[in-house]
């Protein structure tokens, strides 16, 4: 079989971490090769070596039989290896054409040949079978459209090997479908793709072969048709993980912990009203853009509202800022941990203790550093956060462990109501299970959880009740029993009406 890329005994060491340990496998020409592994398994490091961001300490990589030695991503791109990151590198105020040809614009008589560039960009996007407004600056386009432009840019430079780093993480289901069509399309044209994903079902849908890494080591490369979901999970975690979700008993109490009344952000919206009981997990489902995150942010006072009444344990409270929310025992574990949850440049300890420092003062003034260390250490152990020390900068932790740091921060505050916004997005199966178990422990302690999630299996497995939002309003609240399934949720999430359901 013809290999386009041969990875031979690649080892990469960072201070104190062996990120890749003697990894070898091949990528065949024209295949979609899925790369899978828990956070911290070494996938990103390997991809960064392929694309010239890092250089390996030992071992080599052959592209079309020749050893590669890129000193930067540009060289890799010219040689035919392009990488599409989760965070795009498009210039927000330029349009699609300007972005695609950035740095290699066509010129005629010294001035830009806009006509030629527009035509070529249009042809390219046409072959993708996607329609994009070429006049709009890309920041006005959807995430998916931006991604397509990014792919178009990479393909137009060179179309040997395209690396897609968790491309579906921020896409809706429909957009994912379009992306998959595009991938199939590119495959037909002979483009080789490496597809990094946490979603096993995506591997089955789109992949030809799969390679799994664990703790920097190569675990195996298999034809996807020979694999099952269970087998892949076993490869990833190195053991049988049993169930993907923990058992949920749903023994919440009768008393209402939090009651939200007449929440409304602007005139165009309807009032939002709901209650969460003590020890209950309320799942919040809905399509991307249905107003779930906005509702949560309005609840904790992060954004302005037109009206809002909140009762905690039956007592009315004023929450006009996240700091009021903290004082009243409400915490938000935000959707985007890097930009909203963490201070990446500070240590694990400093991140965990940031909003509970007031509780551990000496002489009412100074931070009791001994106590701070002790509390942080305990949370690190309780949550099984994998970090070399409390002093480690959180930037250097894997996604799952970063998410646990955000959680640890809120557990340290003794809050009664925790809002999880997409708690398991972009983290691996093992860490997911740990977070579910933790949520179970929290509700057992009487804490109420509001869990916003776009992963329906998660919503169904974890929630006691499910609240489904559609266009900034609550469309249905269901008890999570046997009658409720993914179709039911999707029905309401897409705007289905209550009384229609019987028919």
């Amino acid at each position: 079989m013809d290999n386009i890329l041969e990875i031979k005994n690649v080892t990469k060491e960072f201070p104190g971490v062996l990120a890749l340990d003697n990894v070898s496998f091949n990528i065949r020409r024209g295949e979609v090769h899925v790369l899978i592994g828990e956070n911290g398994a070494g996938k990103s490091t390997l991809m960064k070596i392929l694309s010239g961001v890092y250089q390996a300490n030992s071992g080599k990589v052959l592209l079309n039989g020749d050893e590669i030695d890129f000193s930067n991503p540009k060289e890799a791109q010219l040689a035919g290896i392009s990488i599409i990151y989760q965070e795009f590198s498009l210039i927000p105020y330029l349009n699609a054409v300007e972005n695609i040809f950035l740095g290699r614009e066509y010129k005629k008589n010294g001035v830009l040949d806009k006509k030629r560039m527009t035509e070529e960009a249009k042809d390219l996007l046409d072959t993708f079978e996607v329609e994009i407004d070429l006049e709009k600056s890309v920041n006005q386009l959807s995430v998916a459209e931006q991604q397509f432009i990014e792919i178009a840019k990479a393909v137009s430079i060179n179309d040997n090997v395209l690396i897609l780093d968790e491309p579906t993480a921020t896409l809706t289901n429909q957009e994912t479908e379009i992306l998959f069509n595009l991938i199939r399309n590119l495959k037909e044209k002979g483009v080789t793709m490496i597809f990094i994903s946490h979603h096993l079902e995506e591997a089955f849908e789109i992949g030809d072969r799969l390679t799994c890494l664990r703790d920097g080591k190569w675990v195996g490369t298999e034809n996807i048709s020979d694999l099952s979901e269970k087998k892949i999970i076993k490869m990833m975690v190195g053991r049988d993980i049993g169930d993907t979700f923990p058992d949920r008993e749903g023994k919440y109490q009768k008393e209402i912990m939090i009651e939200v009344n007449d929440l409304k952000r602007n005139e165009k919206e309807e009032f939002i009203n709901f209650k969460v009981r003590k020890g209950e997990i309320l799942g919040v489902a809905g399509l991307v853009g249905s107003g779930r995150t906005e509702m949560a942010r309005a609840l904790i006072g992060a954004d302005k509202v037109l009206s809002k009444e909140i009762y905690i344990n039956g007592k009315k409270v004023e929450i006009n800022s996240p700091s009021d929310a903290l004082d009243n025992g409400i915490g938000l574990i935000p959707e985007n941990r890097k930009s909203q949850g963490l201070i990446l440049g500070l240590s694990v300890k400093d991140n965990i203790s940031i909003n509970s420092l007031d509780k551990i003062l000496k002489s009412n003034l100074f931070i009791n550093k001994k106590e701070e260390k002790k509390r942080s250490q305990k949370l690190v152990e309780d949550l099984n956060i994998k970090t070399p020390s409390l002093k480690q900068t959180v930037k250097n932790l894997s996604g799952g462990n970063q998410q646990k740091v955000v959680l640890a921060k809120w557990l340290g505050t003794d809050s009664n109501v925790l809002i999880f916004d997409e708690p398991t997005r972009g983290i691996d199966v093992g860490a997911k299970l740990e977070i579910y178990k933790l949520m179970n422990e929290l509700v057992d302690m009487g804490i109420s959880i509001i869990m916003i999630s776009s992963e329906l299996p998660e919503v169904l497995a974890i929630s006691d009740r499910i609240m489904i939002m559609h266009k900034n309003k609550i469309n249905a609240v269901l008890d999570n029993n046997e009658d409720v399934d993914q179709e039911t949720i999707m029905y309401y999430a897409t705007g289905g009406e209550q009384y229609d359901r019987a028919t």
């Binding site: 904790i300 929310a325 949850g341 203790s353 100074f366 931070i367």
Partner: protein, 323 residues
């Protein structure tokens, strides 16, 4: 205690230590001092070193407030003007309104703090960029100082007041240096021992994350600017005492020296990382450079070129390390 300390030193190997930007500047400062000691007879004399310390005290004190502001990812260009206005108000308090010097000093601090409060409030609540707000605030207090004094120095201060700028304690330690030491000690405690200090770093690192964590970000950002106003006023007090007059044109360009000291000391101009120890090292480096070049007889014009190049060099190393 000593056991703990030596353990700490053992654990922190040399490489780790070199990673701290202020260590690099400190090494530079030592080299610079060595150079000056070899090439001039006068640099390494007790008298000269005390002189250097006194000369840097004005800038050193302003740089403290600047450190707080820069750590929050802000900047304060108004410090030189605030210093001049606080100084003239102090002089006016004593000479024109007959205030007791202690009261006049409180008044000057109040004036400085007030400008900090205005800066901070505009930046936090009106969401205006720090560089623009404080650029505008370079003009307002300077204008007020000129307006009040008519552009002339304001003299006639009680002779006892000269102790703050010209006096010595224990016969050798200049009072301005003592004041600077106290200011640094307070700043060190604020930044390393109080929640406030932690918030300052955190806000510079990721303001939105800190806000969503329930910290009153706006309040603490305002505090940073108030501290900057207070340290500018403190410098104004020292310089007014040293010159025994209120100088409306004092402190022109001092904001740049203060920023230079902070950045030389390894504080990231983008916020979130840095230290107050670094700032004092940065201030001393600038002071030794000026003093040494003076002793070597280098023209002040050439000195400015040197100073600029040294700052560029320091930033070059620290940005290289960040990568």
């Amino acid at each position: 205690m000593t056991g703990q300390l030596s353990d700490k030193i053992k654990n922190n190997n040399f490489k780790e230590l070199l990673k701290k930007p202020e260590v690099l500047t400190f090494a530079g400062l030592i080299l610079l001092s060595l150079f000056m000691s070899i090439f001039t007879d006068t640099f390494l004399t007790g008298r000269n070193l005390v002189n250097v310390a006194r000369q840097i005290s004005i800038n050193g004190i302003i740089a403290v407030g600047m450190t707080f502001v820069i750590l929050t990812a802000g900047i304060d260009l108004s410090v030189g003007s605030v210093m001049a206005f606080s100084g003239t108000m102090l002089a006016a308090g004593m000479a024109d309104w007959g205030l007791h010097p202690v009261l006049a000093i409180f008044f000057a601090l109040l004036v400085g703090g007030l400008f900090g409060l205005i800066n901070g409030t505009l930046i936090s609540y009106a969401n205006m960029p720090p560089i623009i707000v404080t650029l505008a605030m370079m003009e307002v207090p300077r204008g007020l100082a000129l307006l009040y004094t008519g552009g002339y120095p304001l003299s006639g201060l009680p002779s006892s007041f000269s102790v703050l700028g010209r006096g010595y304690v224990f016969g050798f330690l200049p009072v301005p240096v003592l004041i600077m030491a106290v200011v640094y000690l307070i700043a060190y405690i604020l930044l390393t021992q109080l929640p406030f200090g932690r918030y300052i770093y955190a806000i510079g690192g990721n303001e939105e994350a800190v806000r969503l964590s329930g910290i009153k970000v706006k309040k603490y950002k305002i505090f940073a600017y108030v501290i900057s106003g207070l340290t500018a006023a403190t410098s104004g007090i020292v310089i007014t005492s040293r010159l025994m007059s209120g100088q409306p044109m004092a402190g022109t360009g001092f904001e740049l020296d203060a920023i230079a000291a902070v950045v030389l000391g390894g504080t990231d101009i983008a916020g979130g990382r840095g230290s107050i120890i670094g700032t004092i090292i940065g201030a001393f480096t600038l002071g030794v450079l000026t003093n040494g070049l003076n002793l070597l007889g280098v023209s002040p014009y050439v000195q400015r070129v040197f100073k600029g190049l040294i700052i560029l060099l320091a930033i070059y190393f620290s940005s290289k390390k960040k990568k």
